[in-house]
Point group: C2
Chain length 366, copies 2
DNA sequence: TTGTATGCGTTATCAC
DNA sequence: GTGATAACGCATACAA
């Protein structure tokens, strides 16, 4: 039978105390294995534990937190959870948080600014002791974050470089990644390479482009400007699929020859592959494609996508560790210099790239 | 300068009261727009609001909840967040929760039983007022849920039928879905259809199989037993990719002819496509493939996967609405009969299926 | 070893 | 119109 019940009219410490015949303090001490419980008679302990168990006692987190002045909670604010990019990140975060007493509260801003702000507010009111922000994509401006977070709550952003707002950031080394992607294609013999850059205002995109150019310069490769275009800025990571399709069609329409396309990310690469397919060009036989990120599905499409991997799990773990550390040392954050944490990217070779020229129509089935 | 500070030594109501020169009661009343605030002088209100603002006052959710006896919180317990299946579900949940005052607390059990139990416990201690469980996959046994949840916290499971544990459940009509998939293939002229069933202990799998058989019976189609196999049970939804590859190879090895494969879900379909590709058979020209779920990536692979769509967004919305309703009416749950809520599946035609026989080597580029 | 008393920050009930 | 004050459930310093 439902009790007359507001949302929680549960059994309290007092109830357990009365039922067991001991005082609330004893019960509290025992149930928490507090230092003083060393002096409590074993029989008493057992008795208390048992009755608590039987009555279905669950300590009230609110009362406890109020009293202890800590929430045992870490906020995980995700800009857009539908981006597969962030799932592994979440896993990394969870993994390093699980052995801890902290409960991660994951919430998703659904790529909307108002929602982001509101939830941030709510997290603050819930007194999260630390904050991991998964900022894969999103609007450029994140004032609310820099304002609030940096002052009181240890905060680390992963996926974007927000050190300018003096927020600790964990990102992949995009420059290196761009370099590696280019290097891979070049090593396979590709010389006519189309490049599909990310949106202009994304820092990631710029850095990758720098890496691409650096490699090109080093080997004296000319990048054909008509085979270089840029995604429109967009709120939605998934939109880069459409962008990939569209811009690839543009490349094809130039009539210029190209044997490989370097795509901004895996989504874009997927779009590229679609467009190529529609145009009757096969991947990788007629054109190699390389992506970036290594989102989970990159490995299970056909052909599998060669890509530059971001160590997302590790990035999540690192970010979490940083938050945990910051929480322990109440100094005002780490010294200004090393706010940026850069992780190495890694080339993952799959089936979407191959050596050029490949003459036989259908590549050998392996 | 960091205050000497435990995690939160923030400005309290009392601080605001002192600073503004009013009592805590007045401040509280004003800041909450409580009924009584009607009688507070406008000037006072403004003053209070302003000082609160200036001091950066944020009410302490713990104290408030303790006092109000409600948490304004809904738990969203996800079995495995890495399953793309659940992302849209989450979106649906968020959408119907956002206009509400409730904060969704999403947590991921990472497909681990102990983690599931522990987090469930934590959610209870945090006095969530309702619980949405996203049970895409996972271990068969979920005692902890039925024990705890049903008694006190309004709970709805989405993605699995747990009505046997007398928990409200929202699921897609799997039987109908299986039927529709088969019907689609049949309508395209396929008669030699391989079926790749889901793991035995999954109810979903059984229901879909029933639908498949029902259609086959209706049109008098014989299903070749050697072209029917079943995925091994597995904890990991992603593993069905490997299963798809393996079992498809099995089909090929039989030497039997088949012009289409009906896969248990989209992941499996991806595996099927990979295996077919490796064997030199093209999709859809040489073999059609149909999946189930319509996970986001089904639309952006090449070819796009024809599939049976689960209306996940709507399922999430419905589940949330049900929880909200149950929270409002403290009767002990809805009448036993209508615990199960079934949503209609929907055929989504893309490029992985086509009419048989298709003779020309490469299908017309559209 | 165990019990009593106090306060964490809010809200709500009263009195002024 | 506004201000004291008593809970909410728990943990702890202090008494016993």
């Amino acid at each position: 039978m439902a009790k007359k019940t507001s949302p929680f009219k549960r059994v309290t410490l007092l109830d357990v105390a009365r039922a067991s015949g001991f005082s609330t303090s004893s019960v509290s001490i025992v149930l928490n294995d507090a230092p003083l419980s060393r002096y409590v008679a074993l029989k008493t302990k057992d008795h208390i534990r048992k009755t608590a168990q039987e009555m279905g006692y669950h300590p009230d987190a609110f009362a406890r937190s109020l009293r202890r002045r800590r929430s045992d909670t870490i906020g995980v604010l995700v800009f857009d959870i539908s981006d597969p990019f962030c799932i592994s990140l979440l896993r990394g975060i969870e993994h390093t948080l699980y052995p801890t007493a902290y409960l991660p509260i994951i919430i998703d801003a659904d790529n909307r600014r108002d929602q982001f702000e509101r939830y941030l507010e709510m997290l603050i009111e819930r007194r999260v002791e630390g904050l991991v922000v998964v900022a894969n994509w999103l609007f450029a401006d994140i004032d609310p974050l820099s304002k609030v977070a940096n002052s009181v709550i240890p905060t680390v952003v992963v996926g974007r470089d927000l050190t300018q707002n003096s927020i600790q950031s964990v990102v992949v080394n995009n420059e290196e990644g761009g370099y590696a992607a280019m290097q891979h294609l070049y090593a396979l013999g590709h010389r006519q390479i189309a490049v599909l850059r990310g949106p202009e205002e994304m820092n990631d995109s710029t850095r990758r482009w720098e890496g691409i150019q650096r490699f090109a310069a080093e080997v004296g490769l000319q990048l054909e400007p008509r085979l270089t275009s840029q995604l429109l800025s967009a709120m939605d990571p998934n939109s880069s699929f459409d962008g990939g399709v569209r811009l690839t069609n543009g490349f094809i329409e130039t009539g210029l020859k190209f044997s490989a396309i370097l795509a901004f990310d895996d989504y874009t690469a997927l779009g590229v592959m679609r467009a190529l397919w529609k145009a009757g060009r096969r991947v990788p036989e007629d054109c190699s494609v390389i992506g970036f990120d290594d989102i989970p599905l990159a490995g299970i499409t056909t052909p599998g996508i060669t890509t530059i991997r971001q160590p997302m799990m590790d990035m999540g773990k690192l970010a979490t560790r940083l938050v945990l550390e910051a929480m322990e040392s109440p100094k005002d954050g780490p010294v200004g210099s090393n706010l940026l944490h850069t992780m190495p990217p890694e080339l993952v070779e799959r089936d979407s790239t191959q050596r050029v020229p490949a003459k036989g129509r259908r590549a050998a089935v392996r």
